[in-house]
């Protein structure tokens, strides 16, 4: 950094550019300050106006989302979304990305991602009760993939296991589109009381501001701006000090914060996430319409001689900022000291509307807070929503000559193969409320509300190849799939969180993917009355101009009001009849069959008929509550064949599928038509289930039987359950060995 003779940095155009600020943005800063900023002030503007903090490319489009509903207590805008699940209980949840850090240092990147999302949730007064993760890696053959999988999975487990929050589910895909940019999206779900939810708006004048948690070091300085910039070949060299997670301190923070939250000592609280002390203090002040004055000498520091710039931009983990009720300072000190955390009173709220920082008795920053938020760039980037790929007719898709081989190849392909190697490294049973987790490969994880007979159901989903082929339909589909997965376990879907992972928004076609996906997602949200209550956007996921497949990961949460009525894909019994609900056309465009068997990645994705989807799902839920079904599984990747296999694996029992009626066999078995469910029902329930479906205008047909130890389809495959299971379970351990 250039310095003038008095050893004070001067702000050159290069420095402005290095901070990722455009000339126009710098002009606004000059105007609002009425002078040149100093380096601290410039750093603060730069992180606040980065893509990561300001959502400048996506904000106006995110505003389209349905965010309100009967059950929504708090939508987007706080640390996490809050929904009402009755009896005074609230569920607080959010999903977040840690893509860039995880590519650079997979263990710590993933670990700190988990830590960060947990803080967003317990900041609001919730005890974290479940973690999920949605992972996308490059193709298995890529030289980095194996070590990235190893590191990311170990990091997620290392953090979540230590903190003692069960990791109950997720999804894992492999595709060459992620070779240079993996995706690590973590979701946390917490439980609070509706009358004890904490918010971030600072209130009152002269109230003490407390810093709690780990000391501040020089970690990840400029992390927030890094997360908003594209990679190039040098970026592995230019990395800042990597943030290291300390799950031990996180666990102490959770316990200490929840202990203090049980009193009336906290007025407002905010975790220090990206852009650390800067964004936390400014957000608290801005939301509360107050000013803040901090004495940086009081900030607990890990290293000597830290500058104000470093302290304000540090991304050291496991830190919180809070406004404490005057008179309750000692109470706060006592709680945090009991839990052996660093704690300091570092400042106070003021009536100036300004952020004032003091360091070694000098004022090192004095800026008005309002423009940091109000004047944050809100770009209307040019976009062009890509047209859907053309529909491929089934007759243009070659039928396999060897169904046994096709089934084996699909069941053992990296996207569909069992992820047991991953989830056995996660503690799924701690807290003893996990009902049916990854153990049975369930559609949604089920976590009981402690001490009650109700449960939340949680799932994450997106099918990037559909979004790539048609952002709008793919956007609808990912929301619909979460809704369907929650339905499968008998839950009432309530709301979603999302993590929108895309490439460089400065390119109109990428921006178009984002806008298209948001609009599609939103249409599904509205059709299901299934609002978005929190989320995260991760852009610039591209390397050397190669963007990732558009990946809007969706995390859905629903409620099972009574745990005496739920379902999973485990439970099919000898002699049960298999019923398929929903319409089958044999849609193979953008399917796994097309990709894995014919090596073609093309074609329009299956459309989602939201009305039919809703009708069918509502019926499935009703059947579960009437205990009409023994097992339920939705049809997704790989179609009917794969759904039947997964149900067979879970229940450890064979399945035989009938001949297809009116549809070529490959489309019948592997087609990915949406909005469908496979049910295993007792023989005496078959007629009532089918006739009621018909009354409701839902297509329902008997498609096979449960029993024996083989998986068969008339005219198609005939393999042993055990042999197929070995293929399904075998791929990942073998790849990782």
């Amino acid at each position: 950094m250039p310095r003038n003779s008095k050893n004070k940095p001067v702000i050159t155009p290069e420095i402005v550019a290095e901070h990722g600020l455009s000339e126009g943005e710098y002009e606004i800063i000059l105007d609002r300050l009425g002078r040149e900023p100093n380096i601290n002030e410039l750093g603060i503007f730069s992180v606040m106006w980065s893509e990561h903090c300001s959502y400048k490319s996506s904000r106006r489009h995110l505003a389209k989302f349905l965010t309100k509903g009967d059950k929504v207590i708090q939508g987007p805008g706080e640390n996490a979304g809050v929904i009402d699940i009755g009896d005074g209980d609230a569920i607080i949840f959010k999903m977040e990305s840690h893509n860039h850090p995880s590519y650079i240092e997979p263990y710590q990147g993933a670990a700190t991602g988990v830590g960060g999302i947990m803080r967003d949730v317990f900041t609001m007064g919730a005890r974290p009760i479940a973690l999920m993760n949605a992972l996308r890696f490059g193709e298995p053959d890529h030289p980095k993939t194996k070590s990235l999988v190893n590191g990311v999975v170990a990091g997620i487990g290392g953090y979540g296991n230590c903190v003692g929050v069960p990791t109950v589910g997720g999804e894992t895909n492999f595709h060459k589109g992620y070779n240079g940019n993996i995706l690590v999206n973590a979701m946390c779900v917490g439980l609070a009381r509706t009358d004890n939810v904490f918010y971030s708006a600072a209130k009152g004048i002269g109230n003490p501001i407390f810093y709690v948690g780990s000391k501040t070091g020089r970690d990840g300085i400029h992390g927030a701006t890094m997360a908003s910039a594209e990679f190039d070949d040098d970026s592995e060299e230019k990395r800042p000090t990597v943030q290291v997670g300390d799950p031990f301190t996180e666990k102490l923070l959770i316990e200490a914060c929840l202990e203090l939250m049980a009193t009336d000592a906290i007025i407002a609280i905010q975790d220090m996430g990206a852009a650390g002390l800067t964004s936390s203090s400014i957000e608290m002040a801005d939301k509360g319409g107050v000013g803040i004055e901090l004495n940086l000498d009081k900030v607990p520091q890990r290293e000597p001689n830290m500058t104000p710039y470093e302290m304000m931009l540090s991304e050291s983990q496991e830190r919180m900022l809070m406004v404490i009720q005057p008179g309750k300072e000692q109470m706060a000190f006592d709680v945090f000291e009991k839990w052996e955390l660093d704690v300091a009173q570092i400042g106070k709220t003021t009536d100036t509307g300004r952020l004032v920082l003091k360091h070694q008795r000098k004022k090192v920053c004095d800026i008005p807070i309002a423009p940091l938020a109000d004047d944050a760039p809100n770009l209307d980037r040019p976009y062009e929503i890509p047209k859907s790929l053309p529909v491929i007719s089934l007759s243009d898709i070659h039928e396999t000559q060897d169904y046994d081989d096709a089934l084996v190849r699909i069941i053992s392909n990296p996207d569909i193969a069992s992820k047991r190697w991953i989830w056995e490294q996660y503690d799924r049973t701690v807290m003893t409320d996990t009902v049916d987790s990854s153990q049975s490969g369930g559609d949604a994880a089920i976590v009981r509300i402690h001490g009650s007979n109700k449960a939340v159901a949680i799932t994450t989903d997106v099918t990037p190849r559909y979004v790539q082929a048609d952002p709008y339909e793919g956007g609808k589909q990912c929301v619909a799939e979460t809704w369907r997965n929650l339905t499968c376990v008998g839950a009432d879907p309530i709301a979603i969180t999302d993590c929108l992972n895309f490439g460089n928004p400065e390119r109109p076609e990428i921006m178009g993917q984002l806008v298209g996906a948001i609009e599609g997602m939103n249409e599904a949200c509205r059709a299901f009355d299934y609002p978005v209550v929190s989320g995260n956007v991760s852009l610039y996921n591209e390397t050397n101009g190669q963007a990732i497949p558009p990946t809007p990961a969706v995390g859905g949460v629903g409620l099972i009001p009574d745990l005496t009525h739920f379902a999973t894909l485990n439970g099919a019994k000898e002699g049960d009849t298999l019923i398929l609900l929903g319409e089958t056309t044999g849609w193979l465009g953008s399917s796994i069959y097309l990709r894995e068997i014919l090596r073609r990645e093309e074609g329009a994705p299956p459309p989602v008929d939201l009305e039919a989807e809703k009708r069918t799902g509502d019926y499935v839920r009703k059947l579960i509550r009437m205990r009409r079904v023994n097992a339920v599984h939705d049809l997704s990747d790989g179609g009917l064949a794969i759904t039947a296999c997964e149900m067979a694996f879970a229940g450890n029992i064979g399945m035989s599928l009938n001949a297809s009626v009116g549809i070529p066999l490959h489309g019948w078995l592997f087609g990915e038509d949406q909005g469908r469910y496979l049910l295993a029902v007792d023989e005496h329930s078959v007629n009532p289930v089918i006739s009621t479906a018909k009354d409701k205008g839902i297509i329902a047909q008997v498609v096979g039987k449960v029993g024996g130890d083989r998986i068969t389809a008339v005219g198609g495959f005939d393999v042993t359950l055990q042999g197929l299971r070995e293929k399904h379970e075998g791929w990942l351990p073998e790849f990782m060995s």
């Binding site: 170990a154 487990g157 290392g158 296991n161 230590c162 903190v163 003692g164 300390d246 799950p247 031990f248 301190t249 666990k251 102490l252 839990w339 052996e340 989830w423 056995e424 490294q425 996660y426 503690d427 799924r428 049973t429 701690v430 807290m431 003893t432 009902v435 153990q439 009981r448 745990l563």
Partner: protein
Amino acid sequence: MKTAVIVFPASNCDRDAAVALEKITGHKAEMVWHRETTLPAGIDFVVIPGGFSYGDYLRSGAMAARSPIVKDIVTKANLGLPVAGFCNGFQILTEAGLLPGALMRNTGLKYVCRPQKLKISNNNTRYTSKYGNVSEVTFPIAHHDGNYFADDETLNKLEKGGRVVFRYDGNPNGSARDIAGICNEAGNVFGMMPHPERAIDPLHGGTDGINLFKSIIESI
């Protein structure tokens, strides 16, 4: 019947242990903070719960074993107080010297969480008497450092004394002689890596853990 659960910084199965104790005894367990120097009066049974006390830093269980409350537990255990450690609790008991041997990194070097079949090697201990002639149970395991090590002499002594209480059926972590749980010579101190407190409710997938708690509680 008064029971206590010890809470260390980053214990994380403390609540789970308390839930199990309350379910079996009908009374709430006392939660005792590690900085206390003595157990509350009249405690009949102590559980050292699982978790990652002190983040598992240095060695799992090492720092917790040196905390003030453990001194008092050691004294009282030596006078006959029943003390059980599950998972991290087992590690703490070995580190504190109440049980022999040590728990090392799993040979696979990975954390493992799964339901684990166990063989009851001795149905006549204070922790297994209620199993009658049941010889096999399933408890969840969830650990990174569950590889039980002791020298041959110690192992022989354990076996001769009937102090190997549970063995793995299908060793998940490399433990010597498939050992999953052991007790001290007097039979009042018991440690195991698997989690009986995670197997007490049908929704957990099984209730095999109940009899372990019943055995010790009824022996008091």
